[in-house]
Homo-oligomer: 450 residues x 2
């Protein structure tokens, strides 16, 4: 079922509009809209291969005089008007503007003008991917977005085409390099979240306003795209809860290490059927910091690396990892999509994909073990008070960890809980929050195993 309902690159037998370069003796003409880091890398890759079937003919950007790169061929037309791309003979518009608008309107206009589109725009695709794919199909053109998730890692094509024969039910991964950089730095150096963030900003791994990364919004947009491509499910970003990594303290890495775990920003989307209602599909999805075994593949992702895994009924768990961001890796994904269009002779996606299914239920909860970290003003009876509330909700405590050396005024300790639904734990935590000994709000993280 998943195999057929995914966003697909299917092609029809209709007369294709574009001819492959070497067949027709002409090249696929490319117009790049947006000449930032990725745009410059795309131009470099396109111009270094003299025999390529791809020809860069137009570059659009604002204030183009500041951007012009004299090392690129003189034949390229530089313009400050996006309309110039639409009225030109470019076959494919590469959209590297980012954000929902004006990028969305421009992509629609490009498709409407009979251009195919390659985009790295995760926000736009997570919001409007199926609609844009429909529009492309209607126009006999293609839209490709391999660069919108995990940069240079060919996750979309690997999942959507390479695993088309399986029924995938789970996608998880590390989808944001900034968070992974910060968390691996905290782990390696014992530094605080804020120092690690500052360092990431100084090194260019984090933006001046890092909230889209830190709070999980960036990873969530990618997870929405992967859930469409891999699970055949249509969800809106707002349905998927995100939790910030800003609440992770260096003490959490200390306790995680005791548990042979690391902490990473983990994105998960898992499909199942609603209990007693096998035709109704349920999606559990969230983006949040979580504990994962130090020996796991996920923990192996260092610095700004990304990992995407897909689990299916028949092929088990398949892992894609590499460099998920940066100008050059993202440009490789863009240019690979351009090659795909050149190879397909521009034939539009054909065999209509079944509209992606809308899940009957979407929740952010997972039934897994959990990590609870408390910072309290120490006094007798604290563990008893916590244990009483947990018992009331039928939650079993697995272990209690307390490192020496904390002051009584801000004592940090950890409980691990046996496998339990996050929603139940959240109810218990609401009650626990009213106890009077907290110095900081309790931190609750899921513990994911492999």
């Amino acid at each position: 079922m998943a195999a057929k309902s995914r966003l697909t690159k299917a092609r029809t037998a209709k007369a294709p509009a574009l001819r492959p370069a070497r067949d027709a003796g002409k090249k696929l003409k490319i117009g790049v809209a947006g000449f930032g880091t990725v745009g410059r890398s795309v131009a470099k890759l396109l111009c270094q291969e003299p025999d390529s079937p791809l020809l860069l003919t137009h570059i659009y950007n604002r204030n183009i005089q500041r951007k012009k790169d004299p090392s690129l061929p003189a034949s390229i037309r530089w313009t400050e008007k996006f309309e110039d791309l639409l009225s030109s003979d470019v076959d494919v518009v590469v959209e590297l503007i980012g954000g929902l608008e004006p990028a969305g309107a421009w992509v629609r206009r490009a498709l409407g003008a009979g251009k195919s589109v390659v985009t790295a725009n995760k926000l736009l695709i997570s919001e409007s991917g199926p609609e844009l794919a429909d529009l492309a199909r209607k126009m006999g053109r293609r839209i490709e977005f391999g660069a919108s998730v995990a940069g240079g890692i060919p996750a979309i094509i690997g999942i959507q085409e390479g695993l088309a024969g399986d029924r995938l039910y789970r996608i998880d991964g590390i989808l944001n390099g900034t968070c992974n950089y910060i968390l691996t730095r905290m782990e390696a150096s014992g530094t605080s979240f804020h120092s690690a963030l500052k360092e990431a900003q100084e090194l260019g791994f984090a933006e001046a306003d890092p909230s889209a990364d830190i709070d999980g919004l960036d990873a969530r947009a990618k997870l929405v795209i992967l859930a469409q491509a891999g699970l055949g499910l249509r969800v809106h970003s707002k349905q998927i809860p995100c939790r910030s990594i800003a609440m992770i303290a260096s003490v959490d890495f200390m306790y995680a290490r005791e548990l042979d775990c690391s902490i990473r920003q983990i994105s998960v989307a898992e499909k199942s059927v609603v209990q007693n209602s096998p035709r109704r599909v349920r999606l559990a999805a969230a983006v949040q910091p979580a504990l994962i075994p130090t020996a796991s593949l996920m923990a192996h992702a260092q610095g700004s690396q990304n990992i995407v895994t897909a689990t299916g009924e028949f092929s088990g768990r398949t892992v894609f990892s590499g460099y998920g961001a940066g100008g050059d890796p993202t440009a490789v994904a863009v240019v690979s999509d351009l090659y795909a269009i050149a190879r397909s002779a521009g034939a539009p996606p054909g065999a209509l994909p079944k509209t992606a299914e809308v899940p009957a239920e979407v929740s952010g909860g997972f039934t897994v073990p959990h990590y609870l970290r408390f910072v309290v003003k120490d006094r007798p009876g604290i563990v008893a008070a916590l244990a009483t509330i947990l018992a009331k909700y039928h939650i079993s405590i697995d272990a209690l960890l307390q490192k020496p050396g904390f002051p009584h005024s801000a004592l940090s300790f950890v409980m691990t809980l046996e496998s339990c639904d996050s929603a139940v734990i959240n109810q218990a935590l609401e009650e626990i929050a009213h106890l009077d000994f907290h110095v900081e709000p309790p931190l609750c993280l899921p513990i994911f195993s492999e």
Copy 2:
């Protein structure tokens, strides 16, 4: 350069012969040749999706009465004559016979009869892939072989299409699950090679005659296919040296652990330019047991898992991992290839791929640190004798390791060597082999870092 010269799935704009299922209201008819483990899984996957654009119509096998599966639809025609597939209206022949002949002749006849072909046959593709792709193109048909390398892992499509925009220069990985099972068992339990092999045979992870796996021939065929798909290089299997894992003893895992390393069967193909002759391409390729850091991704592959990595100038190192063998994962790769043919409406590969380049030089040597293990009849002067010969070849010793507890009559110790060309070490080892204190021939393994 690599991007264009790979074996490609390019498609032309020529009128396609097959129509996509939902467009034309008819399904792509599939004939499966070979009804063993993978064939049965393919049939199961094909028959469980009622809305699939794929329809299993024929199954060929010898002694078909013994093989008939009553749970499959009665409409399937079972036959003992391969000719029945050729004369039928099947659109695609799935070749699961294996081996060079008669599978090769049959694939040629199927293409000649106007069928597309999907095959899991690594021997055939490593031997004749480019020729068969040419034949398919000439006939306006397709040949797909995603299942021939690393079973369920979409490595071929990921490398060939997903990374088409990069210039890949290195492919490495763990390509044989049997060897990986044996070596990870030896590592975990301290057992001997022969016990681990026997266990693997009992569990069905190794064949009664395990030599194709153990000696590296299976992995080498896959490496040849990956070198074509990823590096655009045409090499013959015989040009790539293989070394058996049978020479690995449990003591090697003991010493490897001292060096924070594991031992795995590693396949590597690395492309470079010949020194002072930048237009001539050199390939270094080998399949052999090697030391790799315990913390590396490769060491993370447990049991029968496989890993394929591709390193490019622009995207860095991209990793694909998962289950590389077994009926179901391999069947997922076969069925994914069938979906690709259905999506493409059977349009044949079009934009002619540049013929894969034949490298000017092929060697099995790598300039890396090495591990040398000796078993000697102990007496004074052994290290001095070894060191003298190594010094003559300008080989630097990095460390000398000797675990306690060996008898003087068969003392096992290890030298690690600083980075040095394998060919030079082999010269030194030839001289060393003539020394009179060896109880076993010295073992030399490369140490690959990540």
